[in-house]
């Protein structure tokens, strides 16, 4: 048992010495905003959407297919189902995978694993009044590098998935697709010929419909490993929805997107272009209380560090000229036969 005197002694022994006052120096200077001149802002935001619309799951699949086709028997080792019980996929998911740390003898190396699964079905007859319905979905989870002496051909560290529904009948067509990329994706077989040959790290969801109603959504973040937008912006962040003018209803604004589109320059400044609020169903009502954001005029308000910098008007009409075309249903066909023969 401690006595009161013991505690007092302990306390006195540990009394800290009085510290001298700290010189905090002069007040910090107000941070200057980055220079906004010399940048073609409409072009920057248009290119950001162009880049984004291209970043679909299909890139990962085609790159993986190309690189995997260069393998040889036993490199990589093919598995039915998941290669590892720790892989976070449904136990009954099935699918096909490879897992290895090998070299083909021709300088092509496979390291890590890749698991994928997909299915495609078509029911009905497109020549009939009822039409045909095609559905496809696929998922790939990987921590994989396929490389040769020229560098990385395919690399995915993460998960990608997409889905397609398509209805075709006499005189009628409607399709929707969605794509989700979560992870790092690089490689010559993936990105050669695209606007982002250096690859990306992204958490990006895209959705588009066409045929009867042309519409798109983009939500998430993209970091461009190389090739910044207009040589200046290395990151894109967005939460957007857009509808094609002829598909728009009386309540829709087809002049500009709903939501925001942000660019980050290589000095880490964000430039936020804010359009109509995306999640306010009454955004286009006359009495929307936060004009000018409520104006459907094709322009967004540019903010830098939260300060308004004026309007930027961007023509996104190029999106409706094929940039959002759906994948083919054939792309969703996966089979052990296609990799084991």
């Amino acid at each position: 048992m401690f006595t009161a005197s013991t505690l007092l002694a302990l306390s006195l022994a540990c009394t800290p010495e009085e510290e001298p006052p700290v010189d905090v120096g002069d007040p910090a200077e107000e941070l200057a905003l980055p220079d906004l001149t010399g940048t073609d802002w409409p072009a920057a935001y248009a290119e950001a959407i162009t880049v984004t619309a291209e970043l679909r799951t299909a890139l990962a699949w085609s790159g993986h297919d190309k690189a995997l086709a260069l393998g040889r028997e036993g490199c990589p080792d093919i598995y039915v189902g998941a290669p590892d019980e720790d892989l976070d996929v449904d136990e009954d998911a099935g699918g096909v995978s490879w897992s290895d740390y090998c070299e083909t003898g021709g300088g092509l190396a496979f390291t890590g694993f890749s698991w994928w699964d997909g299915r495609a079905t078509v029911e009905g007859d497109a020549a009939s009044p009822e039409g045909a319905t095609a559905t496809g979905e696929r998922t790939m989870i990987a921590d994989a590098v396929i490389a040769d002496n020229d560098g990385i051909r395919f690399q995915l560290d993460g998960e990608v998935s997409d889905a397609l529904t398509r209805v075709d009948a006499e005189g009628y067509s409607r399709w929707t697709w969605s794509s989700l990329i979560q992870g790092s994706l690089t490689g010559a077989d993936v990105f050669t010929g695209t606007a982002t040959p250096g690859g990306i790290r992204a958490d990006l969801y895209l959705y588009a419909s066409g045929g009867d109603v042309e519409y798109m959504e983009a939500r998430g973040d993209v970091y461009l490993f190389e090739e910044p937008v207009l040589g200046r912006f290395d990151s894109i962040s967005m939460d957007l929805a857009m509808i094609e003018p002829r598909s728009a209803g009386p309540e829709d604004c087809a002049e500009e997107p709903l939501g925001y589109l942000s660019l980050r320059d290589t000095d880490a400044y964000w430039y936020d272009l804010v359009f109509l609020p995306r999640y306010d169903e009454n955004a286009t009502d006359e009495d929307y209380p936060n004009n000018p954001y409520g104006e459907c005029d094709g322009c967004g308000t540019l903010y830098v560090r939260g300060l308004e910098q004026g309007e930027v008007c961007v023509d996104f009409s190029f999106l409706w000229e094929g940039a959002l075309s759906p994948p083919d249903i054939e792309d969703f066909v996966t089979s052990l036969r296609l990799v084991s023969q």
């Binding site: 022994a13 540990c14 080792d77 998941a82 890590g112 994989a144």
Partner: protein, 212 residues
């Protein structure tokens, strides 16, 4: 956990307070010793592996991984085509499926026998394979074995109908993939008289649940 404050616990509390007040300098600095280290944020590709793509190429040495368990899947079968001499309009046949785990031929992991019947698919309206000598809608009836014991995810279900076409030039039976109009080479095949024999085999890795 709550500790009641009473005569027994107060001295202990005082001792803890005293000790914390008079710790060494490192303890006084607090944060770095009491908080977990910040995660480093780097724009690196972390595959978990190192790829040496230098002049000498990638050298795995003795690190090449092999599957812990290997499954060898073998499919073999025959079609008896009628009428004899052709042109063929129907078939009967069978398909045997054997899966062997880790080379254990004495006790295959799975053995199935399917009975097959087939009707010719009309080239004009039935969705026949364009490059095939003939295409059949083949029904699969499981006559022996337990399909659930097999690991091949692409076996037919009992009663399934597959469109299979004989591509004589490539020597394969191609299968139409679930109504998509996409034809995938499925079996190596050879026509001898009125009998078409086919087979496919592959060895793949597989996860096996270890018995506890």
């Amino acid at each position: 956990m709550r500790v009641p404050l009473n005569a027994a616990t107060l001295p202990l509390l005082a001792l803890i307070l005293a000790a914390s007040a008079c710790g060494d300098e490192a303890a006084d600095t607090g944060a770095e010793d009491t908080l977990p280290p910040e995660e480093e944020t780097e724009f690196v590709i972390d595959s978990g592996f190192v790829v040496d793509t230098g002049d000498t190429g990638f050298n795995v040495g003795d690190q090449d991984r092999e599957p812990e368990h290997t499954l060898t899947m073998s499919h073999e079968g025959e079609w008896s085509l009628t009428p004899l001499g052709g042109p063929y309009t129907a078939l009967t046949g069978h398909m045997d499926v054997v899966e062997v785990l880790d080379g254990d031929l004495k006790e295959p992991a799975c053995e199935l026998t399917w009975s097959l019947t087939g009707e010719l698919v009309d080239e004009e309206t039935g969705g026949a394979c364009a490059s095939c000598a003939f295409t059949f809608a083949v029904q699969f009836y499981l006559s022996e074995g337990e399909a659930g014991a097999c690991s091949d995810p692409e076996l037919p279900a009992d009663g399934d109908t597959w469109l299979l076409g004989f591509d004589e030039a490539d020597g394969v039976l191609t299968r139409e993939y679930d109504g998509t109009g996409i034809w995938i080479p499925w079996f190596a095949a050879e026509l001898d008289g009125d009998t078409l024999s086919f087979d496919w085999s592959a060895s793949v890795g597989v996860l096996v649940e270890e018995e506890e």
